[in-house]
Amino acid sequence: MRTILIIAGKEIRDGLRNRWVLATTLLLAGLALSLTFLGAAPSGATGAQPLDVVIVSLSSLTIFLLPLIALLIAHDAVVGEVERGTMLLLLSYPVGRSQVILGKFAGQVAVLGFATFVGYGAAAAALLASGAEIDATSWLAFAAMIGSSVLLGAAFVAIGQLISASSRDRGTAAGIAVGVWLVFVLIYDMGLLGLMVMDQGRTVTGPVLNALLLANPTDAYRLFNLTGFANVSQFAGMAGLAGSAAVSPSLLLGALGAWALAPLALATLAFSRREL
């Protein structure tokens, strides 16, 4: 455990040094703030809770951005150190390979979590400062959004570790990372849509669709945030789906958690079998 913390600490320090933390935080804060103020303009007319609107737009942003950032940080974690020659030295220390993976994972999730919390928190703080009234359910939905965003980030950091631990060189890892991002964020949903249109509801019924949505972490995240809270789902245009969806929020969170743990376990396995 101590070893994992030491490695995580080094990963955080690296992130601070090479400005990853700063860049990610500024990017997320900048986008969140601009979405907050652009999104707040029409909300006055409908009498909406502005924070609920922010949750809808921020969670859509998160689906695109956080997986990309997570993969960018994580795809280099193992293969980069192997190529630079620093891994050989690290493993000559009393350090297990699983501890290396877990430490890097923890450090990178901490970096991502900090950036998400500060960046999105800035949006909520700006709303408060502008005098908007926010009730407790909205705060709860907002907190759930931040928490699940970090979990989504963790899932993609774990996928990035798996890519990194099983790639021969950094270029391959980067290519696979981009491909994985495209599949999970863009292609999967399009394919699913196409499948449902072609299938006309014969085999892809409710339970099958739910399973297919759980099989993609970004869909699990989307369902959780857009249907999990009634006040939010009204703005997301998902109220109907929320009523019919048979997937409970805890199951969605469980799926996200599984998407973080399974690749992490596989990454540990791949790394332990790797010849240095």
């Binding site: 101590r2 020659g85 009393p94």
Partner: protein, 305 residues
């Protein structure tokens, strides 16, 4: 003497490449041993096996009484390793780098930082490793290997990139560690630079061990000829005939010949030369150089396999 590192019948195969085959030797406390061989002879593979980074496909490796690949880390705490062309995260400073490695080993950070002074990096400790020269990185690498007074030090090509003065202080540090009972294994692709620093040499060639012993023992085993150069004042006429039975003779120039003789018979050459005191004006005896010795063992290893 207790063996700190013991290899018996060790082989390692990477898919189709046999990197190391049937290597057996053991290293004792307070020994400095040189592991010599060309690039690709299996030196780094042997070190990785001793570190437990890879598993042997044959034979067994014991380091400080443990199988290094077993996943138990008691022995690794007492082990220092300097990889070939060591590299560090360039964004961290020398001090931060060393502190990180000290924490990983569970050693006090303060003591580890004192090592920076020891390798002459005290003033540069606050600078980022990215600004270091190759020699400075090598010294930082040595400093991390020395953390926690290791009982076994594995140094892969440690002196590349060090200037002669640093090389001298590097060997002084090694001698001091040896005095405290540490086992030091250092690899090199040239035998000549190790003269006077190591008492024992293990020579590797294409994955096989071709020699193991002190330099004196290896010299005796190799039975390489000693070269005696005779310079005659008045030409070489008749000179060749008197020495021809001792060994092959080579004309250097109009006034000198060189005879390659068996070590035991060099006195005989001198005796005969002195008997002819009128003509021989200079005698030069050259023992086989370490490079010749090394080349000899590489050749003999090849004919055997």
């Amino acid at each position: 003497m207790t063996a700190t590192v013991a290899l018996s019948g060790v082989g390692k195969r990477f898919r189709t490449v046999e990197a190391v085959r049937d290597v057996s030797f053991s290293l004792d406390e307070g020994e400095i041993v040189a592991l010599v061989g060309h690039n690709g002879a299996g030196k780094t593979t042997l070190m990785k096996l001793m570190l437990g980074l890879i598993q042997p496909t044959a034979g067994s490796v014991r380091v400080l009484g443990e199988d290094p690949a077993s996943g138990a880390f008691a022995a690794r705490r007492r082990l220092g390793f300097l990889p070939e062309s060591v590299s560090f995260n360039s964004a961290l400073t020398g001090r931060e780098t060393l502190a990180f490695y000290a924490r990983l080993k569970g050693e006090p950070v303060g003591e580890a930082l004192a090592l920076l002074e020891r390798v002459g990096l005290g003033a540069a400790g606050g600078r980022r490793v990215g600004t270091y020269s190759k020699g400075m990185r090598q010294r930082l690498g040595l400093a991390q290997a020395l953390i926690g007074a290791p009982r076994v030090l594995l140094l892969d090509e440690p002196t590349t990139g060090l200037d002669p003065a640093l090389r001298q202080s590097f060997y002084e540090i090694l001698q001091e560690l040896r005095g405290r009972g540490a086992t030091i294994l250092l690899s090199s692709h040239a035998l000549s630079e190790l003269e006077g620093e190591t008492e024992r040499v293990v020579i590797m060639n294409r994955g096989a061990m071709v020699a193991d012993g002190s330099l004196a023992e290896l010299r005796r085993l190799a039975r390489l000829p000693v070269r005696v150069r005779l310079t005659a004042a008045g030409g070489l006429d008749g000179l060749a005939g008197r020495f021809a039975d001792l060994g092959p003779l080579q004309r250097v120039n109009g006034h000198a010949v060189e005879i390659a003789v068996d070590d035991a018979r060099k006195i005989e050459v001198v005796r005969r030369a002195l008997a002819d005191e009128t003509r021989i004006e200079d005698i030069e005896v050259t023992p086989p150089s370490l490079d010749e010795l090394y080349a000899h063992f590489l050749r003999s290893g090849e004919t055997r396999s």
